[in-house]
């Protein structure tokens, strides 16, 4: 019953090059779709205030905050939507939201 593998095209494309119904035939490729383009603000870390509690990492609804080698945290801005939840939850105040233009 399983459908033969249909070729996955790049994304996004011209209207007539889209797969019918925008189906996506390759599993696990959501990472290729950079969803961070529409944010108006982005988080900026001040690691001198960071106590490495990981709260920002846990609360980020996009799952785009990663732990760095030295135990601090940073956001992958390709997927960050600028919601500011990390900055709101960071109780030592190590994260501030900055306008995209800045």
């Amino acid at each position: 019953m399983a459908k033969k593998k249909t070729e996955q095209k790049k994304w996004p494309e011209k209207w007539h090059e889209l797969n019918p119904g925008c189906m996506v035939f390759a599993a696990g490729n959501a990472a290729n779709y950079k969803t961070g383009s529409w944010k108006s603000q982005h988080p900026v870390w001040d690691n001198s205030k960071c106590i490495k509690c990981g709260i920002c990492y846990i609360f980020c609804p996009e799952g785009c905050i990663q732990e760095t080698q030295d135990g601090f945290y940073e956001a992958n801005l390709d997927y960050c939507k600028g919601c500011g939840i990390c900055a709101h939850e960071c109780w030592p105040g190590a994260i501030v939201m900055r306008e995209e233009e800045e």
Partner: protein, 387 residues
């Protein structure tokens, strides 16, 4: 011609679908569609066909369940009416955007309020822009034929879009008519099992119904629009194949005694038959009147309508619904807009009539033809409303 049986049209619609090798039905009962729901449940419960009947808790669930079933590759069917269709509204454009060939019967009924269970087209009109192929039937035989054809149209690899067959509530659903069914073998030949373009299956994960941002959404809308417009070609092709196999001819726009008519009336659904009788009577009295019947509502058959009304002086467009606060009935506003650019176009009268089950008799149609002769033009007018 095969053997005819006397049968209620709603029951016949379910019997027609039973010939179509469906895999899943999810039908929530609502007047005047209930006999389709009940009979479909009977057919599956009695083991007459090998299909699942999902006893959903609402129409919203019915169409949602079928979106899933269709995505998994099933041939899926539902039927509804009025408030039930309104409850499906949220999911309808998703089904078409996902290019899922779900098929549905809609037993046309007035939308509340006030609560009214009788026929008009106010239920399908708010769904007009949902991206479904939208067919109208005029009698019981057409309900059978178009129900079967709808699967073939919807599943065509060039189409892959859902399709709704409109059957006027009570006016058609509850009539007992002499009807002819194709045999199971004939339908199997006409309608082979569905070959889905893609399907959800654990062995080969794919994503359907994905997210699209401003950089992509407009392209998806254009793609769906082109697919829906392109489906007219396939509708015509399937109609032609049906005529060849079963002898009954269908066109996206039908005309009746229209050739030399100076006044034409455009109808949709069951009122076409009554209007045809009125045309016959008036022709006997020497009046040059004729009929244009819209079978395909979406995609809107622009060229065919233009061709059908070319040459007439006056066109009466009947609407069994109104775009409240708008330019008139939905059929008339579309007809007017496609004729706007024509050098020669008829004077157009839009008559809103037959709402909430108000009967339209042969005499009413004769009256409407007469009104068109006398009255000065209004953007639209109600017929038969007590002043």
């Amino acid at each position: 011609m095969g053997k005819r049986v006397g049968m209620e049209v709603a029951i016949a619609a379910a019997e027609a679908v039973a010939l179509c090798n469906i895999d899943v039905a999810a039908v929530y009962p609502i007047t005047p569609q209930s006999h389709i729901a009940e009979h479909m449940a009977d057919i599956i419960h009695d083991g007459r066909i090998d299909a699942e009947f999902i006893t959903v808790e609402s129409e919203h669930s019915a169409i949602s369940a079928l979106a899933g079933a269709s995505a998994a590759g099933a041939r899926a069917y539902t039927a509804t009416s009025s408030q039930g269709l309104m409850l499906m509204h949220e999911i309808l454009p998703i089904v078409s955007a996902m290019r899922l060939p779900v098929c549905m019967a809609n037993a046309n009924r007035a939308v509340s309020g006030p609560l009214n269970i009788w026929n008009d087209h106010t239920d399908i009109m708010p769904q007009r822009d949902s991206g479904w192929i939208c067919l109208f039937t005029e009698n019981g035989q057409e309900a059978i034929d178009l129900s079967i054809m709808s699967f073939k149209i919807a599943e065509d690899p060039e189409v892959m879009l859902p399709c709704v067959v409109n059957i006027d509530g009570f006016q058609l659903t509850h009539m007992i008519e002499p009807l002819e069914f194709p045999s199971q073998a004939e339908v199997a030949k006409f309608l082979p099992p569905r070959k889905p373009f893609a399907q959800l299956h654990p062995d080969n994960p794919i994503s359907m119904g994905c997210f699209a941002m401003p950089d992509t959404y407009a392209e998806t809308v254009k793609a769906k629009e082109e697919a829906l417009r392109g489906s007219k070609k396939v509708v015509t092709r399937v109609f032609a194949e049906w005529a060849k196999r079963f002898g009954r001819k269908y066109n996206v726009v039908e005309t009746y005694r229209a050739k030399d008519a100076d006044t034409l009336m455009l109808t949709m659904g069951s009122m076409g038959e009554t209007a045809a009788t009125a045309v016959d009577e008036m022709r006997k009295a020497g009046r040059k009147v004729g009929l244009v019947k819209l079978r395909l509502w979406r995609p809107f058959p622009v060229e065919e309508i233009k061709a059908a009304v070319a040459g007439c002086k006056t066109l009466i467009v009947m609407d069994r619904a109104i775009s409240t606060g708008g330019a008139g009935g939905p059929v008339a506003t579309d007809v007017k807009s496609i004729l706007y650019g024509e050098k020669k176009r008829p004077r157009i009268l839009n008559v809103i009539a037959g709402l909430g089950g108000r009967d339209l008799t042969v005499g009413d149609f004769v009256n409407m033809f007469d009104l068109a002769k006398k009255k000065k033009d209004e953007p639209f007018e109600f017929y038969g409303v007590r002043e």
